[in-house]
Amino acid sequence: MQIEKLSLLQKIGVYIATFFFLLFVLMPFIEMIRVSLRPMSHLMTADFTWWSEDFSLQAYRDMWVTVPLLGRYIFNSIFIATSVTALTMVVVVPAAYAYARLEFPFKTLSLGGFLAVNMFTGAVLLIPLYRVLRTLSMLNTYWAIIIPGVAFLIPTGIWLLRSYLEKIPRELEEAAFVDGASRLYTLRRVVIPLAVPGLIVVGTAVFIGAYAQQFLFAITFNNVREIQPLPAGLYEFIGYQDVTWNEMMAAALTGITPVMLVFLFLQKYLVAGLTAGAVKE
């Protein structure tokens, strides 16, 4: 459209500004890749240089020795995030449907209550949670990281999925009702199949959230190395006096590959789905 047309000079300006903006956003990644490719001895002794002759993949081999449980950490991260996502969705789907379709007392109030949960990050509730988990003998088990994780993703999940379900035409459900289908049957056989794209968006958002938030619960409620997720596992190594930074970076990059792949496959739907609520209809 004519109005949006930029002159060549303006375009160049946009590109330069975008370059610096993305440089800020991607700098840590670029730097992590650069460091992971250099031998530790050169990182420590040589003066700072951008380029060097001795790029190698050695760190990607050595990291498995330095961080013996690396594979386990990565598996734990994915396992915990997947469990959290599955549990969250089981709880969120019916609730989101209720908020999207049904009228009931305290509807607005209870939805507001759910959203208010966002105000309390885990840190505020850690003390009683610690005691609850200890009473239930869940400390130092996967449950200690999974259960609190689910609770703090439920509100966002309900909020996102509700706005998606509201867009599904009511007529299809009405038709099922008229045919004498029960409510639960309609939800299972009519609504859920129609909501699959929305479920994927919300599921992915919950998965990424679950993957991102493991650190606090892991370092507080768990001190068994074998079940530690990646961020907590690596953090332990960062605390040491002699950090083999190139291997840490290689390990971190390897560890985030699965979630980056999930994101790349689904980014188109994800970005549209997440922002749907922000745009005026």
């Binding site: 500004a17 956003v25 709880v91 019916p94 009228e103 009931f104 007392p105 009702f177 961020p231 994101f263």
Partner: protein, 308 residues
């Protein structure tokens, strides 16, 4: 057909009306139960513990003693002040960077689809991993930032950014802004795309410049999103734990200790549950007051700009 629907409707509606409530409660009960056990009950328990001297050993009721000690401590007020400064500064920067980013990503240039994907990685990866990357870059001996500053002759010697009080605080702010940028940018971009084209065209026909259109159309139109994003961002930033913990653990000499960090240290690291709980209650009260005040403000902004 119409006749059938008309006669059947009232009875069916009535039947459903009754079971609507029961069915709805049935559907939301698992979520309610979960939140009740993991959030509401611990919250009540936190309030109760704040009136005790609970440790691992046991607990005694001490009334308001924890609060009295807390409010009498000048250090505590320093931490409260620092937390609000941290929040206001980081949120303002996030909003500004996000607004610039969204404007750039909204520009009609080839490659914008790619740029929109490239802005997301800090949000996709675990916060802790990104922060480990920053910790390396702040490193004094061979970190990128120190190296660049030397390269450009801005500093003579290597600077360990996390080692001095002021630089550690502002370094943590930069990392926090970095973590928050993708979300803010994405929401602003979506809001910008939702602004009606007619408004721009009308202004364009009247000869309004791009800057004028941005100031007088884009900003007012997306104001409701800016304001609600600011609240969400403020809550997250106030509660931000991992960034500071991994970078500095609240140091050097308390320079990056916010309320959350202080609470964690007292409650979890030293296992003084009672005193920690009192701090947690203060956080909840401060955040709730702030949010309510802010929502009132949001309401006024929405009315002012005539949105919904």
């Amino acid at each position: 057909m119409a006749l059938v629907a008309e006669t059947a409707a009232p009875e069916r509606m009535q039947r459903r009306e009754l079971s609507d409530r029961a069915f709805a409660w049935l559907l939301i009960s698992p979520a309610v139960l979960f939140i009740a056990v993991i959030v509401v009950w611990p919250l009540i328990e936190t309030i109760r513990l704040s009136f005790t001297d609970a440790t691992l050993g046991g607990e005694n009721w001490v009334g308001l003693q924890n609060y009295a000690a807390l409010f009498a401590d000048p250090k505590f007020w320093q931490i409260v002040g620092r937390t609000f400064y941290w929040m206001v500064l980081a949120v303002s920067l996030k909003l500004i960077v996000g607004l610039i980013g969204a404007t750039l990503l909204n520009a009609a240039v080839p490659g914008k689809a790619l740029f929109r994907v490239l802005v997301m990685p800090p949000w996709v990866i675990p916060i802790a991993i990104g922060v480990i990357g920053w910790k390396w870059m702040y490193n004094g001996y061979f970190g990128l930032i120190s190296g660049l500053l030397q390269e450009f002759g801005l500093v003579q010697d290597r600077v360990a950014l996390l080692a001095t009080k002021t630089s550690a605080f502002y370094s943590a702010i930069v990392t926090d802004v970095w973590v928050g940028t993708p979300m803010v940018t994405l929401f602003f971009l979506a809001a910008m795309q939702g602004v009606s084209r007619d408004l721009y065209e009308a202004a364009w026909v009247d000869g309004a410049s791009r800057w004028y259109r941005f100031r007088r159309i884009t900003i007012p139109q997306i104001m409701p999103v800016i304001v609600s994003m600011a609240l969400l961002s403020a809550i997250w930033t106030f509660n931000s734990f991992e960034i500071i913990w991994i970078l500095t653990e609240g140091g050097p000499r308390g320079a990056t200790t916010t309320l959350i960090i202080d609470t964690y240290k007292v409650a979890i690291s030293s296992q003084r549950f009672g005193e920690g709980a009192a701090r947690a209650v203060v956080i909840v009260v401060l955040l709730a007051t702030f949010s309510l005040f802010y929502l009132w403000f949001l309401n006024r902004v929405n009315r002012h700009y005539g949105a919904k």
